[in-house]
Amino acid sequence: MNTVTAQPAIAVSGLRKSYGEHRVLDGIDLHVPTGTTFALLGPNGAGKTTTVQILSTLIGADDGTLRVAGHDPATEPDAVRAAIGVTGQFSAVDNLLTAEENLLLMADLHHLGRARRRQRAAELLERFELTDAARKVAATFSGGMRRRLDLAMSLVAEPSVIFLDEPTTGLDPRSRRTLWQLIRDLVAGGVTIFLTTQYLEEADQLAERIALLDHGKLVAEGTPSELKRLVPGGHVLLRFAGARDLGDAARLFPDGTADHDALTLQVPSDGGVHSLRALLARLDDASVEVGELSVHTPDLDDVFLSLTGRADNTKVSA
């Protein structure tokens, strides 16, 4: 009976979904171990929200084998619902109720009991910095407050799997950081988080594993550092005033790539201070004058653009 530890929080294979002729999800496989944070990253219209809607029992799949918290969303929706919390892209709060009433509503629907409901609502108001707004109607809330309330409402029953569908879309940087910290605290508490986002920084900041979704297909999957390795490595770009300096520098760094029109030399580098200092020392020793220097470390943007942006040109239409 010790299969529980081995059981993934979310297991998906061959997930397909079409709206009429439009194929939104075209054979997705996902595996999210319990207690980890998984990010589904992709541009608008890639199928992220549809994936969350299917996994959270809101809509049905056309095909595929699904398990969420060990249950099939299609045949045992209530077992899945009892284990999950969902915070959507469009906030799911009752605008006509106050923050506290919204949380009490959730507590009542989870049958928390008379004493526990007030206690749980107060805890969450405190933790999500909504105590001051507890008695204000949600319709008057800022975007950040609304999203915090939305997340707090998903947590009333302490779900083991939490779906966050673009939790910070449309938020200002400060609210975004606040929300990130709240999400990190959740992970520390041992829950599994399934996050969708179009922000690479967000996936990089929060997730242990990232899958890149584009046009309903997964185009890459791995840890943030594995994904970064998929694109050409970091380098230092040196710009020179003249062709003579460029020529001298190119002889110093035979593994560099010279661009004689732009008068630049691209030298592979990890971008660290130590290697930069060594590089500059070599140039100084050879009395080569550098006009401009820039350091480029690969980030997920490179992965994103190289795998989704250019994919449009090379993809054979299905």
Binding site: L58, I59, G88, L96
Partner: protein, 264 residues
């Protein structure tokens, strides 16, 4: 927890939610109550003198007779107006993100709808109290005993329950809030095409055939009989029959609409 007690608990929770909405934003409730009041005053003071003379009753005709004749029709019109309000509330609610959240929670799904139904039922009874109060002020003189008043309340609650389930279904079927406010329009017209404002025997034969058999005529005749002692005949049976049929069909339709996969 058993399925039934789960459904009752969740329905009570949803009812509290809907009642809070109504108390916090009372404008819709007041609008629903004022519409039949306006019709009552219009029919009593503008048309009442002439229409009352045409009733040919024993009580001398005129405005005083017409108040008594028209009040039951206006009370039923209150139900029809409230049904329109329910359809609007339901359609508006369905556009809110919170409904998607409810759909991803392990709750008795029907409670979302029963919360609306019971909330609207209370809202309608409130409107009816206002309408009856105004009717009494302008000369409505029912001769009902307390038992008959109680029976009237029961009959009105039964009819309201049925029509509200219908409007919940209409609100769910509507693709927009505007459409939801139009769908129940025929319910407002039906008291006119029945015995609400004039006796059906004053109508041309073809219209009378419709008027005598549409649900609002037995509804109105039953209430009129209970409050004023006019003959009820088999109207009560028809009123019960129509209510059961409308309530059951509408409940099944509404439940199917709410449970359909939103992606299809």
């Amino acid at each position: 927890m058993s399925t039934l007690s789960l459904a009752l608990t969740d329905s009570a929770t949803m009812l509290r939610r809907n009642v809070k909405h109504m108390l916090r934003y009372p404008s819709l409730t007041l609008m629903l109550a004022s519409m039949p009041v306006v019709f009552l005053l219009l029919f009593v003071y503008v048309f009442g003198g002439t229409l009352g003379n045409g009733l040919g009753g024993v009580d001398g005709g005129g405005r005083a007779a017409y108040v008594n004749y028209v009040a039951p029709g206006i009370i039923l019109m209150t139900v029809a107006a409230a049904a329109q309000g329910t359809a609007i509330s339901v359609a508006m609610d369905m556009t809110e993100g919170i409904i998607a959240r409810f759909r991803t929670m392990a709750i008795a799904r029907v409670s979302v709808l029963t919360g609306h139904v019971v909330g609207s039922l209370l809202q309608t009874l409130f409107s009816m109290v206002i309408v009856v109060g105004v009717a009494l002020l302008v000369g409505f003189r029912p001769n009902a005993t307390p038992i008959e008043w109680l029976a009237t309340l029961g009959v009105l609650a039964m009819i309201t329950f049925a029509l509200i389930w219908l409007s919940v279904a209409l609100g769910l079927a509507a693709k927009t809030v505007e459409a939801a406010s139009n769908y129940p329009m025929p319910l407002i017209i039906l008291p006119f095409l029945g015995s609400g404002f004039v006796p059906t025997d004053s109508m041309p034969a073809w219209l009378r055939a419709f008027a005598d058999y549409q649900p609002f005529t037995p509804f109105i005749e039953t209430v009129r009989g209970l409050l004023l002692g006019t003959p009820i005949g088999n109207s009560a049976l028809f009123a019960i029959g129509w209510s059961v049929v409308i309530a059951l069909a509408s409940y099944l339709w509404a439940r199917r609409l709410f449970n359909r996969d939103p992606s299809r």
